[in-house]
């Protein structure tokens, strides 16, 4: 059994923007299957660039990323779309289609499995709709399916985004600051849903988080970025006060989020 093949194997991942700014300076990381990895660091440390280089929303300048043993940095077209569908993404600003219903938003997660015309016209298959309703039920929003998403609260919108991600049948979920736009109580509820997916659906999670307290509570591995380089990798309780100041700078003080 090839149990030791990691979900993601990242080697020398580097990104230089056209203006010459080096956002990632060669990241190496193994993401074991079924793990919950939390990526921390200051704003501008390269967390967002890192996560977007994994599903190629941003093209890495050099380096390699393997998804379950398959090199994905050079795939194109339909193959790239298949790779992306296996790595669902959740955003800080939810990025839902605001003028559409909750159900339509969830269905967009299934678009890769639809031909051009049925997709354009929104001719969804019956079993896909049932699946979408099932996922909405899972995040506790089954009765909101026909509502327009811009009528929902922030926490509800993020849960719609989670249902959309599940619709892709993902192996990995990339979450870019998933709770940074939410209040503390809602943050915990959204993080709990993500944790549940990792534990019950065997989905690997990589999340960028601002708050170390959330990282400690939910992550089973923490990676810290600073100035585009990896400065720490280990379990959450290995982050000592001294490590913390290395990552966040001299003047930083840890804030609890409850």
């Amino acid at each position: 059994m090839a149990v030791d093949v990691p979900m993601l194997k990242i080697r020398g991942l580097r990104k230089v923007y056209p203006n010459g700014y080096e956002a990632l300076k060669g990241i190496d990381l193994d993401v074991p299957k079924g793990s919950f990895i939390v990526c921390i660091g200051l704003s501008g440390a390269g967390k967002s660039t890192f996560i977007r280089c994994l599903n190629r929303l941003i093209e890495p300048t050099s380096g390699s990323v393997e998804l379950e043993g398959e090199e994905i940095t050079d795939v194109e077209g339909a193959e790239l779309r298949y790779v992306r569908s296996r790595m669902a993404m959740i955003f800080q600003k939810f990025n839902l289609v605001n003028r559409a219903s909750v159900l339509t938003n969830v269905m967009t997660g299934a678009l890769r499995r639809y031909g051009t015309l049925p997709g354009l016209l929104g001719l969804w298959r019956k079993q896909d709709k049932e699946e979408a309703l099932h996922f909405l039920d899972l995040v506790g929003l089954a009765d909101l399916a026909p509502r327009r998403v811009d009528a929902l609260s922030g926490g509800q919108q993020q849960r719609v985004a989670i249902a959309r991600a599940l619709m892709q049948h993902p192996r990995v979920i990339l979450a870019d600051e998933p709770v940074a736009s939410l209040d503390p109580a809602t943050s915990h509820s959204v993080m709990d849903y993500l944790k549940k997916l990792q534990e019950e659906q065997d989905i690997t999670l990589i999340a960028n988080l601002h708050f170390l307290s959330l990282a400690r509570e939910y992550g089973n591995q923490v990676v810290a970025l600073k100035g585009g380089a990896k400065v720490f990798e280990g379990t959450p309780h290995e982050i000592t006060d001294q490590k913390f100041q290395e990552i966040y700078g001299e003047d930083a003080a840890e804030v609890e989020i409850r």
Binding site: V83, T108, L111, R112
Partner: protein
Amino acid sequence: MTAPAALPMDERWRLARARFGSVMLDAVLIAYAAWCMQLLVTRAGADTAYLARWPWLLAAAPVLALLWRALTPSLGQRGYRDRLVQHGDESVPAAADQRLLAAVVGALQVVLVLLPAVLIGTTWRGVLPSLLVAVGFVAARFLDAQGRSLGERIAGVRPTLRPVPQTKVPGPWHRRPNSWIVILLLLLTFSVAYLLTQVKLGELISGWERARPMLGQLTSPDWSITESVIDKVVETVFIALLASSLALPVAFAFSFLGARNVMQGSLLGGLVYFVARFLMNLTRSVEPIIWAIIFVLWVTSGPFSGMLALFVHSVAALAKLYSEAIESIDPGPVEALKATGASPLHVIRYGMVPQVIPPFLSFTVYRWDINVRMATILGFVGGGGIGDMLLPFTQLGAWPKVGTIIVFITIVVWLMDIISSKARERLV
């Protein structure tokens, strides 16, 4: 003091482009000021023969532009954000004597480049050496590790596009040379505009006697033609309606081809974007009345030719507005749709289209409003609508009848304005 690291080639290219652009902008401003002044001195109309003396102007303008930036950061430099800093320390701006040295050497280079062309003449014998010298100076920039020109190397400074920290608080506006240059340019522009418009304020008063009887008759409308006027007004409104509705789907398809955020990323996309934009601007710059003349010839006179004229112009005008709406959408949903693995067409359908529907409808209603106003004059060239009636009455001097028509046009335009603004309020 250590030498800074070598810049990558594309950065040197950006620097060279910005410096060329900013010098050219300054040179154009200087040449424009010179043109305005000679026009005001000679009191002539727009004198194009003046441009025949271009070798002189071509040489003087860039030289003056370089001296301008030696004295103070020029307007071109402000526009392109290019600045000179110390070669060793990027945070220290160039001193006045360094700027002057760099500018003088630059001005000498310009003279050297233009000398063959001016001495030998603008045949290939003269232009070719000029080009070779110019290429040599440009190459020198690219061979230098920091993209400096010869003058900048001698002066010990280098160009940068990054913001330079302000070392001193700028003086009040009237102490800055650029303020006076802007004021001078504005004064010159409006003086030339006054001259070329041939403003005759006296006529406004002395001509009143000629206009008074006409204005009197216009304000006592002849209601006997009301019925036929209403028929024509209804025709006008429907010409405009059909033109706007037919333009909607065509402009919709076109607008995505002309939106930068849709087409960027590939060479083919860039080309399509360029062609779409070019066609839009070309079509839009021809007024509907000109299109009506073309279509009257094509499909003979009548409302159909007027409708076609409005349609063509509306497609171009709407496509441009639509494209801009597309370019200003929230990129978030597009990114999210891409991340699901959706195909490009699906990304457009779900990531972009829902966001642009309200502005599109609003623009279209507004266009209908504009088209009704434009349709009132298309009849002057045979394009149908109320203009059909208006033209003979104005030529015959039947001012009471013209007055009636104006009353109904005003009512319709007013109603359209109210309807369209109410509709747009609801949509946005």
